[in-house]
């Protein structure tokens, strides 16, 4: 019990450095860990709506698309970030909850 977990480090030449490291941390703190309701409402249900963008960041675009979630195609926050190669599709909103099912 005296061994301290290190800060995570990718242990292969394929290490992609800081962005990947942040991705690893974000996907853990946003999608894992114990889920309990706080007093601030945004902390459970709302947060999971609001951070859909962030959750998409840690979930793949492909997975989201398979789930029928493609409103992000119109979202400047995401589309300006390198997803502009996505075809501009129709459909918006409505299905965000589905992402929470995983």
């Amino acid at each position: 019990m005296t061994e301290v977990p290190m800060m995570p480090q990718a242990q292969s030449p394929a290490a992609t450095g800081q962005p990947s490291d942040l991705g690893d941390i974000l996907e853990r703190v946003l999608d894992r860990g114990v889920v309990i309701a706080g007093d601030i409402r945004v902390s459970l249900l709302d947060i999971e709506l609001l951070t859909v963008k962030l959750r998409l960041v840690v979930c793949s675009v492909e997975t989201a698309a398979q789930m029928g979630i493609d409103w992000w195609r119109h979202d400047p926050w995401l589309t300006s970030a390198g997803l502009a190669d996505r075809p501009a599709g129709a459909v918006a909103g409505g299905n965000r909850r589905e992402l929470e099912s995983g």
Partner: protein, 269 residues
């Protein structure tokens, strides 16, 4: 704690010596403190509701820079706490308005939380990601001259080359997915528990498009080196994959606790 403060929940653990927490700074920039209830302790940090209240939080969560800073601190505090015993990290942005609320949580959920602490005690999580191997592609042979005279075959040749390239890529992807399945099965067999997660996004991982495995493995603390060796050995055997090991992590992926009774009574605002 002033009226303008909330309590950011960092983690849950068995009662640590309060002296050990001294000097540990949480997400709000202030010292964390312990709220113990009968053998379980919530580690919280006072936060300014001007930044962490519902409305400001709503905006801040849309700001990736803010989220990054908070996420890194939240993670680091849990890592520090893990020096004193098993830790259940809370999901980001779990905020309470009073000590009483936290006491209520510990009281209501103690059985499940205690069981989770038991499950993850003495164990760590490793992350294993695998990508379709980025082997150098064979150069395509120059297309044979078309029989119909110069120029007319160009479009067809182009399409043929394109199709061949796509097919080679798709074969590689299928082989990689198959290997990833086997790799996960073998790793799960030597781990205490295992989870597969969706691949990461391109925004945070440039190689995400070729990610075929994003797995988490719960391993006894003393077996970490052995697990890493196993990963390396298996990776050698799968030429179709590039394998990456990360960790050790706190057992984020295994700290889930079924707590339906803690959902807010009214789900819609």
């Amino acid at each position: 704690m002033s009226a303008a403060d909330g309590l950011w929940l960092h983690a849950l653990m068995r009662d640590p010596d309060p002296a050990l927490l001294s000097g540990l700074t949480g997400v709000g920039g202030r010292e964390v403190r312990a709220i113990p209830v009968a053998g379980l302790t919530a580690i919280v940090c006072p936060v300014d509701l001007g930044e962490f209240g519902e409305e400001p939080l709503r905006g801040n969560l849309e700001n990736i820079g803010w989220v990054e800073a908070v996420a890194r601190t939240h993670h680091q505090v849990a890592v520090e706490l893990s020096r004193f015993g098993p830790v259940i990290p809370a999901r980001l942005a779990t905020i309470y308005l009073s000590d009483q609320s936290v006491v209520g949580l510990l009281t209501r959920c103690r059985t499940d939380l205690a069981a989770a602490l038991e499950r993850i005690g003495g164990r760590i999580e490793w992350g294993v990601k695998a990508y379709t191997a980025s082997a150098p592609r064979q150069p395509r042979p120059a297309p044979a001259p078309g029989g119909n005279g110069a120029g007319t075959g160009t479009g067809a040749d182009y399409l043929r080359r394109k199709r061949a390239a796509l097919s080679a890529r798709s074969d590689a992807a299928v082989a990689a997915a198959d290997c990833a399945e086997k790799l996960h099965t073998k790793l799960a067999a030597v781990a205490q528990d295992a989870r597969r997660h969706p691949p990461q996004s391109r925004r945070l991982n440039p190689r995400a498009a070729s990610m075929v495995l994003n797995g988490s493995y719960l391993v006894d603390r003393g077996q970490g080196d052995r697990f890493a060796e196993t990963v390396a050995e298996l990776a050698d055997g799968y030429g179709a994959l590039d394998v990456e090991l990360t960790g050790p992590w706190l057992p984020y992926s295994f700290a889930t606790v079924p707590l339906p009774e803690t959902l807010p009574e009214t789900a819609d605002g």
